[in-house]
Amino acid sequence: MLPGLLGIAVFYLIPFGDVVRRSFLQMSGEAFCGMDNYRTVFSNAAFRLAAKNTARFVLVCLPLLLVLSLLLALLASRFSVRLLTVFKSAFLLPMAIPAASVVLLWRLLFDVNGFVNGALHGMGISSVDWMNTGAAFAVLVFSYIWKNLGYTMILWLAGLASVPKEVYEAAAIDGAKSAARFFKITLPLIRPMIFTIVVISLLNSFKVFREAYLVSGNYPQESIYLLQHLFNNWFLDLSVDKMAAGSVVLALVIGLFVGILARCWEER
């Protein structure tokens, strides 16, 4: 296990340590500048916008995805194994599509003259400029859900299946209603798994940036201007100091969030 940890240290921890170090240094020269970079970052309008958008995106997407996939999982779990497999495959497919191909599809779908508008037009609804209005946010949410619904659903299914039948039976004998059964028994039992699901979903929500970036570039519609866009642009401008400080802030927030989750849900 040592070489593995060593590798992680070399390729991830050291670079991250370097980033933390840089966040306290001036960009030109190596002069220590204390919290200056952090102050600059917090007073930066673009950072505030990007942070707001990112938070909004995560707060909308994460619950939506979790609930939707859980519902689907509950629905799907009523069916026979064979049907279930077919459903699962269909929902999992998007995950296998590489980013480059997704981008190609998105361009065709959400262009002003694209398929979606064509379909809307067919239904008598006026067309929407998807990528250049507030609708871009919806597109982003949709693409996240689309891509991750299947996998999250499967994780739920696996979790549900791991609850021993006897527990249910015992509960049924006690006369518990199905909703109560679910909230009182199933969810608490699979709590550690919820932790994993949330962490993976959160991770995937950060990956949406790639598609957003490839579809609409460095300066997308305001509502989908995420922290990654900002970091990217800062790097293009060689503002490594700001980028480092910004990402340390992001890391702290994620750390806090995951830490709380872990404390609450994860079994030791």
Binding site: N44, A46, S239
Partner: protein, 763 residues
């Protein structure tokens, strides 16, 4: 049931696997199997040159003087006896000369021949030659034969008429003279053999081969065979019977294909035979190569990056092989001058130059190549490595390229000299990436004189971090009848709009992008503010562009979409969207005003030519307060340059007339180079067909002293650089196109641009 399903699944995935591996098979043969592929890769990547390597031996280049009287070459070839025979005209294109060199092009013996109008000379192995005209009409079809002793005779070609080419009944595209046989290709794009035997003075033409079905564009004698450039690549024919020779895949691939299927396609790679019968040498922009028939590899003898032939604007005439250590190349450079280079292998020279200088540019351009070439020539001990961010043959975007560049700079692996066009120059200056080059600019100004209004535009507190080598600007040209047009964007647009009188179109039909680029070039300085963008000024420019775009009511598909209009999309010499192209419409009465770019001295010569045919005058677009110019090829010196002395001398040289002597596009910041260009314009004429089908045209001449003074005053009056920011420019053009084409409202466009620019600035 489930079992069957599973089995079915397994079969399906098995099938998929099979299909997939079948798909991959030809591909996996690719890299290892055919060596043509490896040749291709080599070309795509450029050759890695490692200056630390201790290997010795390299071809050194010397430029030889052309034969004294000859300034235009019709044909040249090295003969079997080792002499070079060359045919050409003098500078007045009147007297025809034959020049022979017995010592590999170093000394020439010239004899003048009879008068005649010829287009090409096909020289045979024994030094005899056939000179051919264009063959467009009956009286232009005499072939002038010159035997090795200089005895001359004529044969008349019996060419058949080819329809579908307008007035032209036929034309000779290419000719080859080998083993006493003359082959020609005409507009029917077939190879004919001309019967020269017997005493007749009429050469009957016989279709030479049925083996090639596709179109033939060019032919060359090669090793007793005939190499034919066809639309499917190069084919080799036996000269006796016209049968196809066994195909050598590697060579075929190396010699290339016809890229655009045009009639005038020519060999871009010149092959020549050498040594024993099955050895072939060839030269292209990548260098000089060797190939043995049937071998699976192509060997690079000399690296084009280190030689004058590496300039992509060079066209090749002939590669002469003497032995494996001596070559001569005849070529035509970017200015159309005939050149002769001799390559001698020096076993003592290190295989690659000891010193290396890295020059980074987001995009390659001919101008940069020419600069690198000029520097290389005066510094033979230096290898200038061009590091190009976006080569265009992959999907790398400007952002990707800049990201990589920034990473390299931060890691200390950055380039020595940066071409700042399209790069975030302001950030680089702020972050201390660039060094002060103010002193070199001042020195160059003192030595040869610079347009300091351009070069010092970015000087702040005496320090200067970027200096453009060339520049251009947006302008207007108008008919004498409509009078001068000037003022703010709104005034300009209103003035042009008022010319619409139902009496034909006012403007040349250019695409939305062309209008937007012109207005960005001219007005971006006026809507730039300290903290972002001035929305009213931005709106005014957009509205003006929209007014002009809508004025004549053309459909977008009817408009000229001048590819490569902007400075960042700009490649090579093929400038489109220049103002004179629009103004040509004025001669034929198809327009009254044209909008476009002043792309250099040649451009202005064209404008004067046009105004000579039909009175008019020209000026800046919206050039009241801000007389804006677009800096081009701005150089910056990296503060962490590895060999900073070398990098400095590169920038110093770039500012001299010598460094810019090969450049042809845009205006030079060096006054001496600019004046040379003004005086050395080669006269030519341009004709076009007018609205009524009648042809009209004009003459291009060097500028008179008066015209030159007028132009100089105009250049000196420029006072503001365009807002050179890739992000802002892309936003302006991208959103602007939607507005002009009616997909987006005015308010939405202005707010989309302003919001994003605000965001950009606030980062």
């Amino acid at each position: 049931m489930e079992r069957i399903m599973r089995k079915f699944k397994r079969i399906v995935s098995g099938l998929c696997m099979l299909l997939l591996s079948a798909l991959m098979l030809p591909g996996c043969g690719g890299p290892e199997g055919s060596e043509g592929e490896s040749y291709g890769t080599q070309r795509a990547e450029g050759t890695d040159i490692n200056p630390q390597g201790g290997a010795k031996g390299r071809f050194l280049e010397t430029e030889l003087a052309m034969p004294e009287h000859i300034s235009q070459v019709l044909g040249v070839r090295k003969c079997e006896d080792g002499s070079i025979v060359l045919f050409g005209y003098d500078e007045n294109q009147i007297t025809l000369y034959r020049a022979i060199s017995e010592n590999q092009g170093q000394d020439w013996v010239e004899t003048s021949l009879e008068f005649g109008v010829y287009r090409l000379a096909a020289v045979g192995e024994d030094g005899s030659a056939a000179l051919l005209g264009y063959g467009m009409s009956e009286d232009d079809r005499d072939v002038f034969l010159v035997d090795p002793e200089g005895k001359t005779s004529y044969v008349h070609l019996n060419m058949s008429e080819v329809s579908g080419y307008g007035e032209m009944s036929n034309q000779i595209l290419s000719a080859a003279y080998t083993a006493g046989k003359l082959f020609v290709v005409d507009l029917s794009q077939k190879i004919y053999e001309v019967d020269l035997t017997g005493s007749t003075t009429v050469g009957s033409m016989r279709e030479f081969t049925k083996a090639i079905a596709e179109d033939v564009h060019d032919i060359l004698p090669l090793n007793g065979r005939l190499a034919a450039l066809t639309s499917n690549g190069v084919r080799f024919l036996n000269t006796d019977d016209g049968t196809l020779c066994e195909e050598d895949e590697v060579l075929t691939q190396a010699l290339g294909v016809v890229e655009n299927n045009t009639d005038s396609a020519q060999f871009s790679v010149i092959p020549t035979a050498g040594g024993s019968g099955d050895e072939i040498y060839f030269a292209n922009h990548d260098g000089i190569f060797y190939h043995r028939n049937g071998a699976s590899t192509v060997e690079q003898l000399a690296n084009g990056e280190l030689l004058s032939i590496g300039d992509a604007s060079v066209t090749f005439r002939e590669l002469s092989w003497f032995d494996d250590e001596h070559f001569v190349i005849f070529a035509n450079d970017s200015l159309g001058n005939e050149r002769c280079y001799r390559y001698v292998f020096d076993a003592e020279a290190s295989a690659v130059p000891e010193k290396q200088l890295t020059v980074y540019a987001l995009e390659d351009s001919t101008v940069l190549q020419q600069l690198v070439g000029a520097f290389q020539k005066s510094h033979p001990d230096v290898f200038v490595k061009k590091n190009i961010g976006m080569t265009g043959d992959d999907s790398v975007t400007a952002e990707d390229a800049i990201k990589t560049l920034n990473t390299e700079i931060m890691a200390g692996n950055g380039p020595d000299v940066l071409v700042l066009d399209g790069l975030p120059a302001d950030s680089y200056i702020e972050k201390g990436i660039l060094a002060d080059i103010g002193d070199y600019v001042t020195a160059a100004d003192e030595a040869e004189g610079l347009f300091t209004n351009i070069t010092d535009a970015y000087r702040k507190d005496g320090a200067l971090y970027q200096v453009p080598l060339r520049f251009f600007f947006a302008g207007l040209e108008w008919d004498e009848e409509v009078g001068p047009i000037a003022g703010t964007p709104a005034q300009t647009a209103a003035r042009i709009e008022s010319l619409k009188d139902g009496n034909g179109p006012v403007l040349t039909p250019v695409s939305a992008e062309v209008f937007l680029y012109a207005f960005y070039d001219a007005c971006s300085a006026s809507f730039r503010t300290e903290s972002g963008i001035d929305e009213p000024a931005l709106g005014e420019s957009l509205k003006a562009a929209k007014t002009l775009y809508d004025l004549d009511g053309y459909e977008e598909s009817e408009r000229f979409s001048y590819g490569g209009f902007g400075p960042f999309m700009y490649q090579g010499q093929n400038i489109y969207g220049t103002i004179s192209q629009g103004s040509m419409g004025r001669i034929s009465g198809q327009a009254k005003v044209s909008v476009g770019t002043y792309s250099g001295v040649d451009e202005v010569c064209n404008l004067y030519g046009i105004e000579n045919s039909r009175a008019g005058s020209f000026g800046l677009l919206c050039g009241e307060e801000n007389r804006a110019f677009v800096p081009f090829l701005s150089l910056g010196l990296a503060s962490q340059a590895k060999d900073s002395e070398l990098a400095q001398s590169f920038i110093q040289m770039a500012l001299t007339a010598e460094g810019q002597s090969q450049m042809t596009v845009h205006f030079s910041v060096n006054r001496k180079a600019y004046e040379n260009e003004c005086r050395n314009v080669k006269p030519y004429s341009i004709s076009t067909s007018g609205a009524d089908g009648e042809s009209c045209g004009y003459e291009v001449k060097p500028l008179s002293e008066e015209q030159m003074q007028e132009l100089t005053a105009m250049l000196e009056s420029l006072n503001t650089p365009m807002w050179s920011d890739r992000v802002v420019q892309e936003l302006f053009i991208g959103e602007g196109v939607k507005y002009l084409q009616g997909q987006q409202s005015f308010e939405d466009t202005v707010s989309a641009i302003a919001k994003k620019v605000q965001l950009y600035v606030s980062e």
